[in-house]
């Protein structure tokens, strides 16, 4: 970037244009656009507004006032930006920034929040949801329940039951909505249709039997009143839960055993001797996840060796790819050598292939009993490439070297060629030996231009999920750890496994690990930027 450009632009648009100048610029700008441009602009804004209004409508009808307000506000700001004569930079920045804020900045902040909750399997929703699902899970048919004739009805894909009570009243309700009285069409004392709902035909009832038998329509707002369920789609019975919820005391009592489970603030109903009723609900647990990650022996061990291995993996990967790439750049940077071009194209092929595919192919070749390396290259050896904790680490590094050296080769070649020949000539004339020329002149100059890329490469390898996950899946698995972690896992693959694999998903703990990575990456970036001063160059 040259300073002249900046100067010209600054000179052309002075800091504070007068009001007249701004008006004139605005008029000129508006005049130049043309009708077609205006129509396109109006059309685009129309589409955005239509989507926003639809979204606000849906959100408001669902009671999500906060989100609805935010959507409306953003839409208003977008309109203001594009209808204003000024705000020129904003017109160009707004689309990208909206995505950036939602899917990059917000999710990072949200990760921070989740790290302080117990979000995960068994702690997914609110307390009300937990109570109703606990009650629903323990429903049992009341033995002397009256028979309620029912008709299965549908409203926008949601199934409901149209119930005729023994008194002849018609009531309708769904899984979420308790029974409410309605004016229904009666046929032989049984309600068969009601406004706003579609009655399912016999064939539809058969087709959706599974969904229909799952239906449990609450009898009233109080979960203790039980629910109506139908085993066949034509007759329903009253089901009562064998748990009793006492809202005032905040306790659930098991009517069969008499055990009282109470809310102790741990996010689940807990009995006196420590048994938890799951599902529980989501609460803020403060630093519990972090404390657990560091002090629980079975978690702290894996965290330590995974962190150390992450650093080792990133450092060795950068160093090995850089030195191999630099060596090759030097070797092939000789004008006298024939066919350099062909070597170069063949050597950058590993870089051109999507890395997930390469890693999967390597995983096949490194298979202990059938793989190409053991069977053919080593003549039937059985080296445990991917199954031994130490050898697997070496394998990961070899594969990452294969994936990464072409990049360093390209970068180093470019950097070497940009060093002026005069420097070397001057040094040689002064009597410097070739090795001294390289070590004292070329290498320092090369490092100046390559250092920022090495830092970027370190940051990339620090989170190089693909090569770990596709090659070893983090394995071999550490059987002592309560979370699915293995000896070649790096931090990011551990986050993924804790959150999304295994029997129980622990979003809270996974986010806490993410926060640890944030902090490490942030510290490294700050140090790196201090060193390279690359931010200073921004103007």
């Amino acid at each position: 970037m040259s300073t002249t450009i900046d100067d010209e632009v600054t000179a052309e648009t002075p800091q504070k244009p007068t009001k007249r100048q701004r008006q004139a610029a605005g008029i000129a700008d508006a005049a130049s656009g043309g009708v077609k441009m205006l129509l396109v602009k109006l059309l685009m804004l129309g589409i955005v507004d239509a989507i926003a209004i639809y979204a606000v409508f849906i959100l408001v009808s669902g009671g999500q006032w906060l989100v609805a307000t935010i959507v409306a506000l953003v839409a208003a700001i977008v309109n203001w930006i594009y209808f204003s004569r000024r705000r020129l930079p904003a017109k160009y920045l707004a689309p990208g920034v909206i995505f950036l804020v939602i899917f990059q900045v917000f999710v990072l902040v949200y990760t921070g929040y989740i790290a302080f909750t117990n979000y995960g399997t068994g702690h997914n929703g609110s307390k009300e949801q937990a109570v109703s699902s606990l009650m629903a899970a323990s429903l049992e048919r009341v033995e002397d329940s009256p028979t309620y004739p029912v008709t299965v009805v549908d409203q926008f894909g949601t199934l409901g039951l149209l119930v005729t009570s023994p008194d002849g009243d018609a009531l309708v309700g769904t899984n979420e909505q308790p029974l409410t009285e309605v004016d229904a069409e009666l046929e032989g004392g049984k309600a068969v249709a009601v406004d706003g709902w579609t009655t399912l035909s016999f064939a539809d009832v058969l087709a959706r039997t599974n969904e229909i038998t799952e239906l449990a329509v609450p009898f009233s707002d109080d979960p203790n009143d039980g629910a109506i369920r139908t085993p066949d789609g034509s007759n329903a019975y009253l089901y009562l839960s064998n748990l009793e919820y006492d809202e005032a005391a905040g306790t659930i009592t098991d009517l069969d055993t008499g055990t009282v489970y109470s809310d102790l603030g741990t996010g689940a109903f807990t009995s006196a001797d420590g048994d938890e009723l799951l599902p529980g609900w989501q609460i803020v647990v403060g630093f519990d996840n972090f404390v657990r990650a560091v002090t629980d022996e079975r978690l702290a061990g894996p965290l330590v060796y995974v962190t150390l291995w992450t650093f080792a993996f990133a450092l060795i990967s950068v160093a090995s790819t850089f030195f191999l790439g630099l060596f090759l750049a030097i070797v092939f940077n000789d004008m006298r050598m024939r066919g350099r071009k062909y070597y170069r194209v063949l050597m950058i092929l590993p870089y051109a292939i999507p890395s997930f595919l390469s890693a999967l192919v390597w995983a096949g070749m490194m298979n202990e009993s059938f793989g190409f390396i053991n069977q053919v290259l080593l003549g039937g050896a059985s080296v445990p490439w991917l199954t031994d904790p130490v050898v697997a680490k070496v394998s990961v590094l070899i594969v990452n070297l294969w994936l990464g050296f072409p990049y360093m080769f390209l970068v180093c070649t470019g950097a070497l060629q940009s060093i002026p020949d005069e420097l070397q000539e001057a040094a040689t004339v002064d009597g410097a030996k070739p090795w001294a020329v390289f070590r004292l002149i070329k290498l320092p100059l090369l490092l100046v231009s390559v250092a920022p890329l090495l830092i970027a490469s370190f940051a990339f390898n620090f989170n190089n999920f693909n090569v770990i996950y596709m090659l070893t899946d983090g394995g071999p698995r550490d059987s002592n750890a309560p979370i699915p972690v293995g000896f070649t896992d790096i931090l990011i693959s551990m986050v993924y496994k804790v959150a999304f694999t295994g029997q129980s998903r622990d979003y809270g703990l996974a986010s806490a690990y993410s926060i640890i990575i944030f902090i490490i990456v942030a510290v490294i970036s700050v140090i790196a930027f201090r060193r390279t001063k690359s931010l200073e160059e921004l103007n």
């Binding site: 700008d29 950036l100 000789d334 590993p350 292939i353 999967l360 950097a415 004339v429 942030a522």
Partner: protein, 329 residues
């Protein structure tokens, strides 16, 4: 090349030639490190020792490295041509040649390979185009306009890209499932949702790359157009965008490759097999212990890699320029 003479009159050539007279034969490789030497005098008779010391050993390094680079590629091509399915059967390279595995991977009803391929092209293609568009808009404003918060904006782009989206994968999953509860068309398990998440990273290193390139286009062109009565939008769409076409191609390609390669977010958001991308589908396929058709997978891998490799080699010259500006693999 080996017999190239010092160009008379070129100071560079003359000096390099002279210097090499001093250089001891044993240090010649190291000398050549820096010196793009052209020193072998043509009249001297061919000497194997001299040739080896000068360039011969370089060919040995080259052959070894090419073997290291190519052997997984040769292996996967060979096993994709093997009509038998197993991993063991693929070990004898090119023992049998046939296209059976290609037919199997493309027609197997259990493995919707063509659907994955289509999904990948759609998702990566739309992401690439939209990334280029959003990035170019931002780069234009950073390059051509002076406004409050400009420096802050540039710095935030550098800082935010330090934290890749995959770190926030848990939050992205929960956010998308919440969005999916209200708007199923753009929530979990949809391509639009995944593309939107990818676009969150559009203003990152790519914008920076484009910003640098935009700065090399002289502002006097804008001014001339402005004097002729063109508005900012017309200058951007009809003048600037045409002038920066090479960087647009590079950014589109880098973004395309990145989306093809992306596994973490795609695997979390795309739940149904029919919705998945190649990265997710093929990885889950191979990690399934019951799936033993290695050569069909190899055929799939070859098909999947072809478009990316072709694009890469085709645009190689531009990419290498873009790489040094910060994209990393």
């Amino acid at each position: 090349m080996a017999t190239q003479q010092p160009v008379p009159g070129t100071p560079n050539g003359l000096i390099v030639g002279e210097i090499d007279e001093f250089t001891d034969a044993s240090t010649r490789p190291a000398a050549a490190v820096g010196a793009p030497g052209r020193q072998v005098p043509p009249r001297r008779p061919f000497d194997v020792g001299r040739w080896f010391a000068a360039t011969g050993w370089r060919h040995i390094v080259g052959v070894v490295m090419v073997a290291f680079s190519l052997f997984p590629i040769v292996f996967v091509i060979s096993s994709s041509l093997n009509p038998q399915g197993t991993l063991t059967g693929s070990n004898a390279l090119f023992s049998k040649i046939g296209l059976d595995s290609y037919v199997r991977i493309l027609t197997d009803p259990q493995v919707p390979f063509t659907t994955w391929f289509g999904n990948t092209l759609i998702i990566a293609g739309i992401t690439a185009v939209a990334t280029v568009f959003l990035g170019a808009l931002a780069a234009y404003s950073f390059s051509r306009m002076r406004f409050t918060g400009r420096r802050f904006g540039l710095i935030s782009i550098v800082v935010v890209q330090m934290f890749p989206q995959l770190l926030a994968v848990v939050a992205i999953f929960l956010l998308m499932s919440a969005i999916g509860d209200w708007f199923p068309a753009i929530g979990l398990n949809t391509h639009i949702g995944l593309i939107m998440v990818y676009l969150g990273g559009a203003l990152g290193v790519n914008t920076y790359l484009m910003y640098g390139f935009f700065n090399t286009v002289p502002a006097s062109i804008d001014e001339a157009a402005k004097i002729d009565g063109a508005g900012h939008a017309r200058i951007f769409f009809t003048i600037i965008l045409r002038l920066v076409a090479p960087i647009l191609a590079v950014v589109a390609l880098l973004s395309f490759i990145a989306s093809v390669n992306e596994f973490v977010v795609a695997s979390v958001l795309l739940i149904d097999t029919e919705q998945q991308t190649l990265a997710v589908g093929l990885t889950k396929l191979v990690s399934n212990p019951r799936y033993a058709d290695w050569s069909a997978f190899s055929a799939g891998a070859v098909i999947a890699a072809l478009p990316v490799v072709a694009l890469f080699l085709f645009l190689q010259k531009y990419i290498v320029g873009g790489l040094t500006a910060g994209a990393v693999k």
